[in-house]
């Protein structure tokens, strides 16, 4: 492991009964924001839970911040001190205020000293713009506010590895933009699973595409978009055999993939276009990064 690597997965696989949620995977994650794309049931959450140490792998080895989380409890505990994790679904404890919840989680993250903990809670509440709502009961918060509160707990202690499972779910556009600004400014590693391809194109240095438990793409946003170059067209008619078509605001029909209709012109593809094309491909595709 070099100094820039925060997490390394070696032959990591996970099964649930007979279902293989994640096929053996080798992956190295360094600094920066890494986006994880994939359809529902692709294995994204499984992969994030494995990295966050909330789920043990069926086989393989995971190292986080130099600690082999598959070795023993002590190593796993040491690794957890470097991880902040936002689960996909969060069930908050009853009867707690927003600040009370964060304070409790901070203790669970070994923030024993009360005054330091109080300051840290205030800091993360401020980061997610909930400073004014610290004394409000969690049950009285809106869905978006609860999601931000859940993100705040992951930010406690400025972890080296921040693992976020669909953080923008329930956030309005303004809150999403704010979250992008926050995540983009973090010094460590952020691994973010999302269905929002705009978030990936706006935020991520690197993209992983996972499908049916296997890694299908690993590269930069530019490389991912490059897969779709020349395969997205706008014309009077839809491309033959297109994966996706829709009428644009100017009246033309935008087609992703397929044989272009006569007169159709190629347009700049988006991350979403590239993702759709990649999903349709049968064979795994590898980007520039190994």
């Amino acid at each position: 492991m070099t100094g820039s690597e925060i997490a390394v997965l070696e032959g990591v696989a996970r099964s649930f009964g007979r279902t293989k949620a994640l096929h053996p995977l080798d992956l190295t994650i360094g600094r920066g924001v890494v986006g994880l794309l994939g359809p529902n049931g692709a294995g994204k959450t499984t992969m994030l839970r494995l990295l966050a140490t909330s789920l043990p792998p069926s086989s393989g080895r995971i190292t986080v911040a130099g600690h082999d989380v598959t070795a023993d409890v002590a190593q796993r505990t040491a690794a957890r001190r470097h991880i902040g994790y936002l689960p996909q679904e969060v069930s908050f404890p009853r009867g707690m205020t927003a600040a009370g919840f964060l304070d409790y989680v901070a203790v669970l993250k070994e923030w024993g000293a009360a005054e330091r903990r109080r300051l840290e809670v205030q800091r993360v509440l401020g980061l997610v713009q909930l400073s004014e709502l610290g004394t409000k009961r969690v049950s009285a918060l809106s869905g978006g506010q609860r999601r931000r509160l859940a993100i705040a707990q992951a930010l406690i202690g400025s972890p080296d590895l921040l693992v976020l499972d669909e953080p923008t779910t329930g956030l309005d556009p303004e809150q999403r933009a704010s979250l992008r600004g926050l995540l983009g400014g973090l010094p460590g590693t952020v691994l973010i699973s999302t269905h929002q391809t705009e978030d990936v194109s706006a935020l991520c240095d690197r993209v992983l595409v996972i499908n049916a438990g296997s890694l299908r793409f690993d590269g930069s946003v530019t490389e991912l978009v490059g897969l779709a170059t020349g395969r997205v067209h706008v014309g009077r008619d839809a491309s033959q055999g297109a994966l996706s078509t829709w009428r644009t605001g100017t009246g033309g029909i935008r087609s992703v993939g397929g044989r272009p209709a006569p007169g159709a012109v190629p347009v700049d593809p988006s991350v979403e276009d590239a993702y759709l094309l990649l999903r349709a491909a049968q064979q795994p595709t590898t980007g520039a990064r190994p």
Binding site: S54, R80, Y85, V105, V107, L108, K109, E110
Partner: protein, 293 residues
């Protein structure tokens, strides 16, 4: 860069225990129970007719701190688990959280001790009448040991049972159902039924004296078999057993040492139970004086 390397286990555990103590103190079920206990104790102490009997009866703390403690602790355990789950994976282990929750037992125990002290004072100031419990060699310490078992030990055992439920049966409604079952079995095992008297001390709440229904004089006092002193020891062993079983739930912890400790404490509990049964009076004593009622 991470600032979470505040890995002083001692300060974390202390902070967590303080948190759980605060949560226990603020739990509405505990508050209701404690206020009712205070009211019952005050009413008993100020009522000349009931002074002696009320002060000696551990039913109120047993129910209001012990039984309700099952629900309180099961609820706090669930709350702690939810917070840990919301954070995904935290560096503080489930075992530490369980110990911290067990530490919160200090809240009901403090209340129970306050009741116990007031009950002892009440007993000394207003000793029972000659037709009451003190006959046939029953001394003050016998009464105190019984009160301690029924009041203080129940305030420990109830919440620890709630902790065990929270760890092993964390489904909604289990704690209240267990509480009701405890009441039902306690009714049978408290000593009013002759067929349970010799082995009733297996149950964690029972009487050692009282008006148990002498034919023709239902209010007449009798003293039952078994030793309340050894019974306290048995209850301590049961509480330790409950805590160990709760600690065993942690899927990540090394359980070998805990399993050995659990077996040892279970064996000690069995020995203390046998000693409780064979110790003390070997047959039921009935006060020669009628109740006068």
């Amino acid at each position: 860069m991470s600032t979470t390397t505040n890995a002083d286990a001692g300060s974390t555990t202390r902070a967590l225990v303080r948190k759980e103590i605060t949560h226990y103190l603020r739990h509405p079920v505990f508050i209701v129970g404690a206020l009712l206990l205070a009211a019952v104790s005050w009413l008993g102490a100020t009522s000349p007719d009931d002074r002696a009997s009320t002060s000696m009866d551990g039913l109120a703390p047993g129910a209001l701190l012990g039984l309700l403690g099952i629900v309180v602790m099961a609820s706090l355990t669930k709350r702690s688990d939810r917070a840990a789950e919301a954070a995904g994976a935290v560096s503080v282990s489930q075992r530490t959280r369980t110990l911290a929750l067990a530490g919160a037992v200090v809240v009901p125990v403090t209340c129970a001790l306050a009741w116990f002290v007031s009950a002892v004072i009440g007993f000394q100031e207003h000793p029972p009448a000659p037709d009451g419990v003190q006959f046939g060699g029953v001394d003050d310490s016998y009464i105190y040991a019984t009160m301690f078992a029924q009041g203080v030990m129940a305030a420990v055992g109830g919440p620890l049972l709630g902790l065990m439920i929270g760890r092993w049966l964390p489904r909604r409604g289990v704690a209240p159902v267990v509480m009701v079952l405890m009441v039902l079995v306690t009714i049978v095992m408290q000593g009013i039924f002759e067929w349970t008297r010799s082995w009733r001390v297996v149950w964690p709440w029972t009487h050692f004296y009282g008006a148990m229904g002498v034919p023709g004089d239902s209010d007449r006092f009798m003293v039952l078999t078994g030793s309340p002193f050894l019974y306290v020891g048995y209850l301590v062993a049961l509480c330790a057993l409950g805590l160990l079983i709760a600690l065993l739930r942690d899927p990540e912890a090394d359980r070998r040492g805990l399993v050995r400790a659990t077996v040892a404490v279970a064996a000690a509990a069995v020995v203390l139970l046998v000693l409780t049964i064979v110790g003390g009076y070997d047959h039921t004593l009935v006060n020669p004086l009628s109740s006068g009622r």
